[in-house]
Symmetry: C2
Subunit: 421 residues, 2 copies
């Protein structure tokens, strides 16, 4: 029994869009998805008739919990006029819409459909921070949640183990955060569109306006090291190591390669995709690695015939700063223990040799969990088409990008490689 | 843009199993799924190495709500030893595992995998009846839930509209219930393994044992008409019109037709499958029909080249007795307004011309919502292989069966046609 790792038909992305990510108390999931859908419609170079869409795959983690409504497939389908066509919700925690993407690809590869809408949505901000923590704990593996681990708790332990094993420290997590904000600043859809330097200055001005003693920090790391400005969440993770609570939606349009030119002269090929599953902390052989990421990466590289060095730009699942560092290693971009050094040396900056999270990542773009996986594809779509505006990667011959989406504390992972041909 | 309605590879079922359905306070979702998995392993005629399974698709409605844990793909994957292989949860309310089945078929048809495990699980009995009603309301469409409709409420309105339009009455709903119990009696995995006559007698004996006045009913319909024995839930639906609250799991093993003989000389072909989506009560053109069922049926018939008359035995989604009657019409088995007459005439009994729900259906087999879709496939597997024991359909040349799974109040529907070749 061998994996073929070859699809019966090649699949391409022919359109991509997203709503702004942020906190939108006045919008529900339908509102946000319709915004993403309209953004996607506008992205299809040669236009098309939305009535031609044949099925919807929708990622959503747990609007069950967040807004007390499940069964979003037909609801979103109705919102964008697709009833009575098939609509399937997938759930893999924070990787929910990456799973939807994968099923959309398989539905087309199988020969059943020619035009599939894939998206994701989540509305989290209607709950308090404490409730969101409780909701996200639904996605840990049972043993973790039952013994009281929250998400930051699991990743805090992970960071401590990484520090211990490789001699890294908090200052290396700060490098990730500083870079994320530099990119988020340039993304008009991001939840946080400010550099840390700007946030420092804003905080200073606010204090001055109140007549309070105005804080002064030597640089971004001094700011991040100030427990008033950046309080502890779960040692060694502090507030700025954690992605925010967000609302948002994203979607892409998929077609078989054979008809791609009906939609655009610049289709994005799905060159390879992989998915893996993992256990929790209790069963990990190595706290500084994610078995689901390694399995997903191996499958995607094998399918694409590409290697880590071929990936020129990548969206990586930075739910916490430490996660970004470890994934850089699990994806093969840098050797184990070298991820934090690569970040410190600027290699993952927009103008580095391996630009990571040009969108601002989960940290700054925001992380409406069910929408994140597809929103990563939206970013790579823009980058590989050279349409990423101010945050465009300044790389010659930009052709291969990838998206990495992690669900829960490592239970689910996907890695997808895209190629402009 | 046309649907191909043809898969790149034909897909077959080569194994099928389920846990008993019922109320099992001592078992969790992992326990139940492992029971289903072991039952499936034993069903594979020529045996196989479970390590050869390449991916899992798992249907679950909302263990999020019922047991406060989401992200079941990797958890169940771990329980049956599949880590780090891909595991994807699908959710379409009560059709959640029918969606998993569909994705399993597409994954194989796409060429990516050769051996896929598809299952479903739900644990509902840890919540009170009131809480389960609240949980199921997560699957209504927003307008229904927001104005206070529960599931029985929506189907009560549906029954009233059907009665009004076609002149049917409560006695016709009773025909469905009586038949369900006759079948459930013969299913050793069913939650209720008793005919109504037996339940009447048991109730009488219980009263006698207590020294209370022993009730006496002329026949089953007199029993069902007694508001003490069969209290009202949502007019005109009474307790015995409603499926119970259940725990359970089911799974099947899928392979491409090309290698099916490695596993069995009696593979079950997926001849056609369809999926549809629907709106809620507020948007229905006709309260006595489900647009999602009609869409799913049209797609499945077109793909299979078969017609309603070709389906010899069918599992139909009888969440409420009225639902079974209406689906018989929407699936084309009987003309609109004739479903209730067909049931009254015994046409849907095990020895009738169109045996329906030989398993006992959701009413008697039980309805752990996330497991139901795949458990329907398990029943058709047994029937078409002539291995359904006492409840085997006594039909010559039995070759074609089907499963119909409805999610929510009609939001999602699947219809799948199986053929023994």
């Amino acid at each position: 029994m061998n994996k073929h790792l070859r699809l019966a038909r090649e699949v391409v992305v022919v359109g991509a869009g997203m709503s702004p990510f942020g906190v939108f108390p006045e919008k529900d999931s339908k509102d946000l998805f319709v915004e993403a859908f309209q953004d996607m419609l506008a992205s299809v170079d040669k236009g098309f008739d939305p009535d031609d869409i044949q099925a919807l795959y929708l990622g959503n983690f747990s609007n069950d919990f967040f807004v007390h409504q499940a069964h979003w497939g037909p609801i979103i389908s109705d919102a964008v006029g697709l009833i009575p066509k098939p609509a399937t919700r997938t759930e893999g925690a924070c990787a929910s819409s990456a799973l939807a993407f994968r099923e959309g690809v398989l539905a087309i590869a199988s020969g059943l459909y020619d035009l599939v809408l894939v998206g994701g949505v989540e509305v989290m901000s209607q709950r308090s921070t404490e409730e969101v923590a409780e909701g996200l704990a639904l996605a840990t593996v049972p043993y973790e949640g039952q013994v009281g681990f929250t998400f930051p708790g699991v990743f805090g332990v992970t960071a401590s183990a990484y520090f211990h094993k490789y001699g890294a420290g908090r200052q290396h997590l700060m490098d990730v955060t500083i870079k994320s904000h530099l990119n988020g600043k340039l993304n008009p859809k991001a939840q946080y569109q400010a550099t840390l330097a700007e946030m420092m200055e804003a905080k200073r001005q606010k204090a001055l306006a109140k007549g309070a003693p105005a804080p002064q920090w030597a640089d971004e790391k001094a700011f991040l090291g100030d427990p008033q400005a950046n309080p502890m969440v779960a040692w060694p993770l502090h507030l700025f190591d954690c992605c925010p609570i967000s609302d948002g939606a994203a979607c892409v349009l998929l077609a078989p390669a054979g008809i791609a030119r009906n939609f655009t002269d610049h289709p994005l090929y799905v060159a390879g995709m992989g998915q893996g599953s993992g256990r929790g902390l209790h069963a990990k052989k190595d706290l500084t690695s994610f078995e689901a990421t390694q399995a997903a990466a191996a499958e995607a590289y094998a399918m694409s015939g590409l290697e880590p060095g071929d990936v020129q730009v990548c969206e990586v699942h930075d739910c916490f700063s430490i996660a970004e560092i470890i994934h850089l290693e699990d994806l093969g971009f840098f050797p184990p223990g070298h991820g934090y050094r690569a970040v410190a040396e600027g290699k993952t900056r927009r103008d580095g040799i391996k630009p990571i999270n040009t969108s601002g990542g989960l940290k700054c773009k925001g992380h409406p969990v069910g929408a994140t996986g597809v929103s990563q594809v939206v970013e790579i779509w823009h980058q590989l088409r050279g349409e990423a505006g101010e945050r465009q990667v300044p790389m010659q011959g930009l052709r291969v990008g990838a998206t990495h989406n992690l669900g829960g504390t490592g239970g689910t992972c996907t890695f997808t490689i895209f190629e402009r041909r």
